[in-house]
């Protein structure tokens, strides 16, 4: 596996290098905080629910039922403490509530889905990682904590799917020209009005010469034409 900046490269079919983006310490820490909050909420619900149940049972004097209920509550609390993260990761294919919020996911080092035992191993080592994990991650090339080392996993960031895609391309268009159009669609809203007008003018001039008929409404204002083009691409998907 090779590493470049915060990317992690795995091999797809025909050894195609597939780049995965590694999740950083801050996003992972924030995800853990959200998971801890979920744990606290569940614990509170179990505790309060159990209290009212026991209270109602006690008023009717059913001691054996109270004992069984207490036993169930204790077991549930124990399983929650040690098993919540594992259960979430197995059920949510390598994610948890916190990880879903930040679009993180646990995968094996070869990019495939991590096994249930890998998730259990990671979660059981979390108490130790809360102390030493950040240090190990800071000195690790691929941002792994102790649990990741043991389970042979990495945590990746899954970027959201693009809401638009430029697929209708003119014949002979180059990569740089496509990049120019994509940059326009991506960033036109943030441009200053004067700058936007000038860029639109230049872009329309260039494309009318190189790829006549590609940009819509020739003869209209450049800003209007570029906005129309951007809207048509955005609405295309």
């Amino acid at each position: 596996m090779s590493l470049e900046q915060n990317t992690f490269v795995v091999r797809g079919a025909q050894s195609a290098p597939v780049e995965l983006t590694l999740a950083g310490v801050m996003s992972r820490s924030a995800a853990i905080c959200i998971d801890a909050a979920c744990y606290a909420v569940l614990l509170f619900v179990i505790g309060v629910g159990g209290y009212f149940l026991i209270d109602s049972l006690d008023t009717t004097g059913i001691d054996e039922s109270t004992e069984i209920l207490i036993a169930v509550l204790m077991t549930s609390t124990f399983l929650l403490q040690w098993g919540l993260l594992s259960i979430m990761a197995i059920a949510m294919d390598g994610a948890s509530v916190g990880k879903q919020v930040f679009r993180l996911r646990v995968v094996s080092r070869d990019g495939s889905e991590a096994s249930p035992f890998a998730h259990i191993l990671r979660s059981f080592l979390l108490p130790i990682d809360l102390m030493v994990g950040p240090w190990i991650m800071a000195f690790s090339k691929d941002m792994v904590r102790l649990g990741d080392l043991a389970a042979q996993t990495v945590v990746i960031y899954e970027a959201p799917e693009p809401t638009w895609l430029l697929t209708d391309l003119p014949q002979g268009v180059t990569a740089d020209e496509v990049a120019l159009l994509e940059a326009w669609i991506e960033g036109e809203a943030a441009l200053d009005e004067e700058v936007s007008a000038e860029l639109a003018e230049r872009t329309c001039e260039y494309f009318d010469e190189r790829h006549p008929g590609y940009l819509p409404e020739k003869g209209q204002g450049a800003s209007y034409r570029m906005s129309l083009f951007a809207d048509s691409v955005r609405n295309g998907l």
Partner: protein, 327 residues
């Protein structure tokens, strides 16, 4: 060739003309795989194989010529999603758990016989030493058991006399004991020394209690309490210790393989050993909660229950899934 490639002003349109359908077909298949894998047919799986290879080839070209385009990023995501599905488990999670208990755990248990014996030996030596310490001096009892334990001994009683059988006691015990198992395992990260410390401490503790009870002649009551659950519980503690020692071994053992892989293999096996032993600790807790406190059951009956529980575990681990290559 490489120079020619870098100079060639490849056109995205030329390279990817007509490929949109391939990409969207793979996208659709992946969505089905991720949400309803049981709905896929044999033909779908064949199609996935072909489509995935085709998209990976397109992605390789896109990365080489147009690494910064949105289209390239989209193809990369398709490849990453496909890769995640390639080695996804084919059996249900329930079947995997069944396979683990029927076959994988017993075989692993037998394979790690050496480290189990080491763990048992450490615990046994500490227990014997603790017995001697508890028999010889009250100071050790106060230090290792509890300050008021001697008061109980001197009154001819045990603190277990005040315990009544039930679900609550059982749950308290088995959750505590499984927690001890997890700590014994996790302590193995200290190159195994943490686990050795926990085994020594627990052995000394048990030994001092026995030594003190013998000295104050309340040992019969202690044997009565411990007979039903003690053999199984103490044995499972040593198995957890073995798991911790095995975890620590992954850090120090010399090997020609990369340290990361050796550690990961040991970590996986140690966790599996502990997970397989944990249900037996729950059983020991249930016995301790319901049978041990029963005054109506005689010591020989409790001892029979204890021996039977331990024999059941040993029989299961020694005879299940026999006949494999490693057996």
């Amino acid at each position: 060739m490489a120079a020619g490639l870098t100079e060639h002003r490849a056109s995205p349109e030329r390279l990817f003309r007509g490929r949109e359908k391939v990409w969207s077909d793979l996208d659709g298949l992946l969505t089905e795989l991720e949400t309803r894998p049981e709905s896929l047919t044999y033909e779908d799986v064949q199609a996935f194989s072909i489509l995935y290879q085709a998209v990976c080839a397109d992605y390789s070209l896109a990365q080489l010529h147009f690494p910064k385009l949105t289209l390239t990023a989209r193809l990369g995501r398709l490849c990453a999603r496909g890769k995640r599905q390639l080695r996804a488990p084919q059996t249900s999670k329930a079947a995997q758990i069944w396979q683990f208990f029927i076959s994988d755990f017993p075989r692993l248990f037998r394979r790690l016989a050496g480290v189990r014996r080491l763990s048992l030996g450490i615990f046994a030596i500490a227990t014997i030493f603790g017995c001697a310490m508890g028999w010889s001096s009250d100071g050790f009892i106060e230090m290792l058991v509890a300050p008021d334990a001697i008061d109980y001994f001197q009154s001819g009683n045990l603190w277990t006399d005040e315990v009544s059988a039930g679900s609550e006691l059982s749950a308290t015990l088995y959750t505590n004991n499984v927690g001890v198992m997890l700590k014994a395992w996790g302590a193995g990260l200290l190159v195994g020394l943490g686990t050795v410390g926990i085994l020594l401490f627990n052995g000394l503790h048990i030994g001092v209690v026995f030594g003190g009870a013998y000295r104050y002649q309340v040992d019969e009551g202690l044997v009565d309490w411990i007979a039903a659950h003690g053999p199984l519980e103490l044995y499972v503690i040593t198995v957890a210790g073995a798991a911790g020692l095995w975890l620590g071994r992954g850090i120090w053992v010399a090997s020609t393989e990369p340290r990361r892989e050796v550690f990961a293999q040991h970590a996986k096996e140690s966790l599996l050993l502990m997970l397989g032993a944990a249900p037996w600790m729950v059983l020991a807790g249930i016995i301790e909660g319901f049978i041990s406190p029963q005054d109506g059951l005689s010591t020989p009956i409790k001892a029979f229950v204890g021996a039977a529980a331990l024999a059941l575990m040993l029989g299961y681990t020694q005879f299940s899934a026999r006949g494999g290559y490693n057996d």
